[in-house]
Each structure stands twice: as C-alpha cells, then as structure tokens.
C-alpha cells in the first residue's frame, strides 16, 4: 500500500507550513492583545487595579463624565490638526522643489529629506530640547544679539510640541506628496498660462487639485501619527501638555489603572477610525 500524498494535498501542507508560524505569532502578539484590550475596557477593577470579571460600562461612563476627558480629546484633535496643517505647509515646497529640480539634485535631496526617519524620535526630540531650551541655541543667539533680555519660553508648552512634531512629520508628509505628484504635468500649467492665468491662479487651480490625492494621504498619515504621538509631547511638553496618548501611558504605567487605560485606548481607536472614514470619503472625490 502506498501512502504518497496527492499533489493537491502536498501543496496544502506546504501552504500551512509556510503560513502557520507567522499566523501564530500574529495571533499571540496582535489579535489576542487587541481582543483583551477591548474586553478589559468593559471590566470592573477593584481599587488598587486588581481586575475582576464583572462586566461594566463604568470605565466609559467615568471617561465621559470627567470634564478632563473632553479637554484631552480637544487637545489631541487641535494639536493633531495644527501639526498636520503645519507639516503640509512646510513639506509642500520641498516636494514641489524635488519634483522640479534636475534628477541629480533630486536623488541627493530625496535621501536628505527622508534620512531623518532613520534617526530615533527620541534623539530628534532631544535635538529640539537643545535648540529650544532656556539655555538653548535659539535663546542664546537672541540674547547675544541683544534682541531679548531673558530667555523666552519655547518649550515645556504647546509651542515646543508643535515645532518638534512638525519637524518630525515632514519626511512622512514629503513621501506621501511626492508619491502623488506623478499626475502633475507641466503641459497643464503652460496651457493655463497661455489662457492668461497668473502664477497664483495656476497654483490654486492647477497644481493643488492635481496633487490633492497626495495631500490627502499625507494629511491622513500625519494626523494619525500625531494623535498617537507620545515621546515628543512628553519631552517637549514638559508635563504641561495633556493629550490622549500621554494619558493612556500615565494611566497604564504610572497609575496602573488598566481598565481606564483600555477604555481611553478604545476612544483613540475610534478617532482613528473616524479619520480613516473621513479620508476615504474625501479621497473618493479626487479619484
């Protein structure tokens, strides 16, 4: 009796062998944790953080009853929107420049534009602390130039977080914009110019609409990264900037309130979902 497997069965076995290890790791480190996070957000904790198995909406009710929560949501949304717009304004000229410059410079500058991605966010944030601190480079320059008498406060407030985050997000935004610049053809601009459009009109009526898919993708990416950013607000905010992401960390690590941290995380995920939905609705119009 021969026990050789059919070709189809062999293929099936090979497929399982290829996929199973990755599927197991994915389940243990991603699916299971996310399910547990959702579950724990509906569980009651005894004082001291010990988990019970009592089902409750209490964590969410507590969240929405606390006026501080609305401040956190408002702070996170406002900061993420300002950072997104600031990054767009800063990255757009870079992307336009890269698109128009000759190929040699384009390759060099492209590498320079994305190279900060390879430097840890902690290091880049520390660089901003050196620049913006009371005894930092900018205050030092301004004081030695006699423009100010004492140091002005550039960090440990929201301003510092904005500056640091916008700089950290520029490479992501630039990458998304460059990817969307493919549709931009100088022919359209020439046509518009011949029909009498000035530079300003050409920019707003030709260049911006044509590059809209890249703009939208970049904005989604930066918004989503800003909502969940934590290192930069923590270090440049100096404990004075309160956001959803910093609250999740404080609840989980500092105060060990895991059930509340879980429900705050679910709120963050909902904001994520809403941003994605808004993006797909707007992006559909520009397809």
């Amino acid at each position: 009796m021969t026990m050789s497997l059919s070709r189809a069965a062999q293929r099936r076995l090979l497929l399982w062998a290829l996929l199973l290890p990755m599927a197991v790791v994915n389940f243990v480190t991603f699916i299971l944790p996310m399910l547990r996070l959702g579950m724990i957000s509906f569980i009651e904790a005894r004082p001291g953080g010990v988990l019970t198995d009592v089902f409750t909406f209490g964590n969410y009710i507590d969240f929405f009853r606390d006026p501080f929560s609305y401040k956190l949501i408002w702070n996170s949304l406002r900061m993420s929107l300002i950072v997104t717009l600031g990054t767009l304004v800063a990255a757009y000229p870079i992307a336009l420049f890269l698109y128009r410059v000759n190929p040699v410079w384009r390759n060099i500058l492209f590498v320079i534009t994305i190279s900060p991605l390879l430097v840890s966010a902690v290091v880049r944030t520390y660089g901003w602390m050196v620049l913006l601190g009371n005894k930092g480079l900018i205050n030092g320059l301004l004081m030695s130039a006699g423009l100010i008498d004492g140091p002005i406060r550039l960090m440990n407030n929201e301003l510092g977080v904005y500056i640091g985050l916008i700089e950290i997000m520029i490479p992501y935004m630039a990458l998304a914009l460059i990817a969307g610049f493919g549709r931009l053809d100088p022919v359209y601009e020439e046509a518009a110019a011949m029909l009498g459009a000035n530079a300003f009109t050409r920019f707003y009526r030709i260049i911006v609409p044509l590059t809209m898919p890249g703009i939208l993708l970049g904005c989604l990416l930066v918004f989503v990264l800003s909502v969940s950013s934590f290192i930069t607000p923590k270090l440049l905010g100096g404990g004075r900037v309160f956001l959803l992401a910093t609250e999740v960390y404080d609840q989980a690590i500092v105060r060990l309130e895991w059930t509340q941290a879980a429900s705050t995380s679910v709120i963050v995920l909902l904001i994520f979902g809403l941003a994605m939905m808004l993006y797909t609705r707007i992006a559909r119009r520009y397809e």
């Binding site: 996929l19 270090l235 941290a261 995380s265």
Partner: protein, 263 residues
Amino acid sequence: MIGKLTLRLKILVFFLYIFLLAPILVVLPLSFSNDTFMVFPPESWGVRWYVAMFEHEGLTRAFRLSLWLAAVVTVLSLLLGVPAAFAISRFQFRGRDLLLNTFTAPLLLPSIVLGLAILLVFVQARLLGSYSGLILAHLVVTTPYVIRIMVTAFGTMPPSVEEAATMLGASPFTVFRRITMPLMMPGLIASAALSFLMSFDEVIISLFVTGPQVRTLPVEIFDYVESRTDPMAAAISVALIVATLAIILILERTLGFSKAMGK
C-alpha cells in the same frame, strides 16, 4: 517660467531643509561640551561626556541588549515573514487578502494602543520584563514591514523564470538557489535592514514591556533625557547617528541599499 524653480522657492526650501536637519546637526557641537549642564554655546570643550557615556553601566548594558535584540528580531522576522509573504503572493487560497491585511494591520495601529494591549496580555503570561517578551513585542513592529516588502518583491518576480529553469531540468533546490534566491536578495536586504533599524529604535512598545533589569537603549535614553539636562544625551545621540550612518554606508557599499529600497 512655467514649472521652473523660482529664486523664492529655492530660498524657502533652503530654510525648510535647515529646519528639518537642525535638531540632528545641533547635537554634534553640544556633544563636545565639557560643561556640567546643557548650555549653548558650551563654555568649555572636550570629550568628557563621551568618556562618561562609555563608563555609564546602564547605558552600555542597554546598548548591548538593543544590539542583541535587533539581531535576533531581524533573523526571526525574516524566518516568519518571508515564508508567509511567499505563500501569500504565490498561492491561491481563500482568505488570502484577509490574511495579508491581518499580518500588516499592526502597521496602522497607534503604537501606544498596541503597547498597552501587549502589556495586558504579557502581564498575565508573565512575559513582562523578559527577553522573550521583548522579542515578541518587537516582532509586531517588524514583521508587517517584512511582509509588505517581500509580497511586493515576490509579486514583481516573474514565476515564468523559475518555470523555465524547471523545464530545462533544474531541480527545485537548484531553482531556489540559482533563480529565486538572487532575485529576492534586494527585498531580503531591505527587509533585514528595516527590521534591524526599527527594532533598534523602537521605544513606545518597549516602554510598556521592559522591566527594571531588561531595558533597551531607546528606553534608557528616553528616561535619561526626561530626568537629566547634561550634554551626555548629545554624545549618545551623535554615537547613534554615526552608527546608523555606518550601517547604511556598509549596506550601500556591499549590497546596494538604494537599489534594495527600490529607489
């Protein structure tokens, strides 16, 4: 004038690049400060903080751990991700897209939420502050990139080349060694380099799963920067930037990194 670079745009872009690179460049002069506190410009110069950095036991231990961790995570990411990517791009089966999306979904989630979720499972499984816990947590970050890159790599690799070799009498092993392997090499290098750098730099998820005895370098630096204001963090930053540059230069010289990144 149409579609050309105006002087105004050039000047604007020049200042934007200064803004972009300033925080990376500014740590270099500060790292050679001999002052006790961070003052800019430094009042005295020297290599005091580089010496202090190498003598700081917590930092050197964290550095060794991070290096070891990144190497282990890179090897495991390839061992897990490459076969899965091969199956997804070369086999037809039900739920293929769903599986690809599940494998790459951690990429889209905020690290802070993912970190908390992993903490909640690891605390039960007693994996917090353990080496295996750290490795597993880092695999969540690195495997989505490996799978994305390798699915693209296998997708652009025409199966007809392999079929031709088989028809000409090459054994499956020879086909893999002589055809498949060289063709997927750029993707493998890109995956390995990205995994290594991602793991070495990972800080948010690590903050949730490290213990007092098992601390990675980025976590150690984060705590240091948060609590101290001496120029040693600048010395560490310069060392990290130089190390990253060295890795990229070595890869570029030996294997053609920019080609591997699909540029």
